[in-house]
């Protein structure tokens, strides 16, 4: 049983039985994290998300909540996005070293 796998391993091992994965909705505001995977049923939508800067390895930070707490303003690379809350669960991340 691996207790604390090094972050590099995470990229290759996405087996949920072994290690819990973090998703963006669990991350505190202002804490930069790295995108590991985008999940979700629609492949084309995921491909479009890469066009918006949401690609594997990119750094993402939740910046602010909008007044109704949804969507959430995020900093992805050099641009600001608003992302709906339901999507945050579909962005798997790891902390930055």
């Amino acid at each position: 049983m691996i207790q604390n796998p090094p972050p590099s391993l995470l990229k290759f091992n996405l087996n949920k039985d072994i290690m819990p994965l973090m998703t963006l909705d669990e991350i505190a505001i202002g804490r930069p994290v790295r995108i590991l995977a985008l999940t979700g049923p629609d492949e084309s939508e995921r491909a479009r998300m890469t066009g918006l800067g949401l690609r594997l390895g990119a750094t993402i930070t939740k910046v602010l909540l909008t007044p109704l707490r949804d969507p959430v303003e995020c900093l992805v690379g050099p641009q600001l996005l608003t992302i709906e809350r339901r999507i945050l669960k579909r962005i798997q991340v790891e902390p930055l070293r």
């Binding site: 918006l52 050099p78 996005l81 999507i87």
Partner: protein, 633 residues
């Protein structure tokens, strides 16, 4: 030989349009992309006596087109190649966001299109300490690269030099047909181009390490206020209030002036021209039709100046994001904010603004509901009915009762739209998971020239698109209202009211009178409602004519009293308060505007939508109006 086509492609907010304006100057025109209604800005550039046709493509976010705008952009590129045109795609990238922007260039290159890259806003990048090496970039991308600032005119010479140079590689590559490409092929292409862009970025761009770019830091600190739980909604409310205030106080005098100018001009012409059909056609048919178009231009110009400032500064997408959550239970989202807002001036620009909505279903819903916003053409109708039938003594809570009713009509339109949106959730038009991500551009100061062009293009669209329909319908209605002519007995010229009564329109009004009698309308109101299909405010003019004893009476105050005091043959009032409330409800809901119907047809590409929309809103308006009349009388 046809001129070489230079297509400007890029993501929204990369400064494509600024570059387009800088390159072409005043030599531009607006046309339509083949087979659809998305407008195409075409400009001319002449370099060394060679002409180039420059086209500003709609913004695209990825190589997988989603919105109708994006589809048009890719289809245009495909068509150029298929027709064998000499094409060069100028891919515009924002220097401070270059990694994301380069993916399009890399993708088009990989898809076999001849490209060159313009790294725009290099001035802003310098402020951000971002350094871009054009040679390294060019090496990785395999295409010429120019650093430029379209705002400052920097690098324009190099860009024009690019145009004359031959296509980068002489080899003929079969370009990808975006119309036929499978989603899997496009996803593959997108993945590849993201990788290439990352490689180019790593090799050619130096960003200060671990520091937030100053432009971003500034935008985030502004957002802390704009998205503040208390200040945010307050700022939005105040902004909207000021916008409407400016719209009404600013546009009213101009509209009144234009109205009286047209009336005066018509009087002068009538005096000069020999009496007869021609003079009637010009003074009663064509001129009022023209006036009906022109009087809306000040409102549209003012509204779009303000919307333009909000949009160019970067506030509008944030306002949409703030409302997003609140609109979701109704099956709408923040993207309907701009169409609905525009709808308060006129539904036509509002419906055209729905093009940036990526979900096709949500776009249709927005198109169907935008006409429920209280457009400025409803105002004269509301004003007439309210002044005639809401007594001056009606002062709820000490407020001006007529103003309260007018404000109530605005609220009524919004509530009706939201309720209908809710109802549409149970139809096939409901899109449960619209695209969830919006780009927030950095805050920027709007520039006067860009703003001027934006406002001008909106006004021009209105004049050219809606104008045609309004003018045509006005002339047709005039003809229906003037023919057949009554047998005029010499010495007793017939009054306009008598003339309309005997005309085809009058006959039609009498024919439909039974249909509208349950609402308390007589043939005069029925005729006026028919004529208001040209533009809602024509209702006031037609009633004015029908109630005028002689042709000269134009005073609107007189008309209000006439309506209020009108009696039936048995001495009871011809119109009651119930009738008035019914009329207000009818005008709030019914799609009483043929120009809107025409625009919906163009924008949806089918006659089915506008037909269904017109029929449904008519039935709903009639039913609600009938219910109100029953309840009140």
């Amino acid at each position: 030989m046809s001129p070489r086509i230079v297509a400007l492609a890029g993501r929204p907010n990369t400064g494509k349009t600024t570059l387009f304006n800088a390159l072409t100057g005043m030599r531009q025109k607006v046309a339509n992309f083949a087979g659809c209604t998305v407008e195409k800005a075409v400009g001319q550039v002449t370099v060394e006596r060679e002409d180039f046709e420059v086209i500003d493509l709609p913004g695209t976010h990825s190589l997988l087109p989603e919105t109708s705008d994006e589809k048009v952009a890719f289809n245009f590129l495909t068509d150029c190649i298929n027709e064998g045109s000499d094409l060069l795609v100028l891919c515009v990238a924002e220097a401070s966001n270059i990694e994301n922007d380069l993916a399009l260039a890399a993708g088009l290159k990989a898809a076999g299109y001849p490209i060159a890259v313009v790294v725009n806003m290099i001035d802003e990048a310098r402020l951000n300490d971002v350094v871009v090496d054009p040679h390294a970039l060019s090496e990785v991308l395999g295409a010429p690269v120019v650093l430029a600032s379209a705002r400052l005119g920097e690098g324009l010479g190099q860009i024009t030099a690019l145009l004359t140079a031959g296509t980068a590689d002489g080899k003929l590559v079969k370009a990808l047909d975006f119309r036929l490409a499978s989603p899997a092929r496009l996803r593959e292409l997108q993945a590849l181009s993201v990788l290439t862009a990352a490689r180019a970025y790593a090799k050619a761009v130096r960003v200060p390490p671990r520091v937030l770019l100053p432009t971003l830091a500034r935008s985030i600190s502004v957002d802390r206020v704009v998205f503040h739980p208390l200040a945010g909604p307050l700022i939005l409310t105040v902004t909207m209030f000021l916008l409407f205030q400016a719209l009404f106080t600013g546009a009213k005098p101009l509209m009144d002036f234009l109205n009286s100018a047209f009336a005066a001009f018509s009087d002068i012409l009538r005096a000069r021209l020999p009496a007869g059909s021609l003079s009637d056609f010009i003074c009663d048919g064509a001129l009022p039709g023209l006036a009906a178009v022109v009087v809306f231009v000040p409102q549209i110009a003012i509204l779009f100046t303000l919307i333009g400032i909000l949009e160019h500064s970067g506030y509008l997408p944030r306002a949409g994001a703030m409302l997003d959550r609140a609109l979701r239970p109704f099956g709408l989202d923040g993207k309907v904010f701009i169409p609905f807002l525009s709808g308060f001036a006129c539904a036509i620009p509002g419906i055209m603004a729905t093009r940036t909505i990526s979900s096709e279903k949500r776009r249709i819903v927005a198109i169907l509901l935008t006409p429920l916003m209280t457009c400025s053409a409803r105002l004269p109708v509301y004003a007439l009915i309210i002044t005639a039938f809401v007594p001056e003594t009606f002062r709820p809570l000490g407020l001006d009762g007529r103003g309260v009713v007018m404000a109530g009509m605005y609220a009524f339109g919004i509530v009706a739209a939201l309720l209908l949106a809710l109802a549409l959730k149970w139809t096939r038009l409901y899109e449960s998971a619209p695209p969830p991500i919006t780009v927030l551009p950095p805050y920027r100061l709007p520039r006067l020239r860009e703003l001027g062009r934006y406002v001008w293009s909106r006004c021009w669209h209105f004049i050219s698109r809606a104008g045609q329909v309004i003018l045509m319908v006005s002339v047709v209605l005039w003809a229906l209202a003037s023919y057949p002519r009554p047998p005029s007995d010499l010495g007793h010229p017939t009054s306009p009211a008598v003339r309309i009564e005997g005309s085809m329109l009058g006959m039609a009004g009498r024919a439909i009178e039974p249909l509208f009698r349950p609402l308390g309308w007589d043939w005069r109101v029925s005729v006026a409602v028919l004529s208001s299909l040209a533009a809602r405010e024509v209702f006031v003019g037609t009633l004015g004519t029908l109630y005028a004893m002689d042709g000269s009476q134009r005073s609107p105050r007189g008309l209000e009293r006439e309506l209020h005091d009108a009696k039936k043959a048995d001495g009871t009032p011809r119109y009651t308060l119930a009738t008035a409330v019914g009329l207000l409800i009818f005008f709030a809901i019914a799609l009483q505007c043929l120009s809107t119907v025409a625009i919906v047809r163009r924008e949806t590409g089918s006659s089915a939508w506008p037909t269904a929309q017109f029929a449904f809103l008519f039935v709903l308006a009639y039913t609600l109006s009938f219910a109100a009349v029953r309840l009140l009388s």
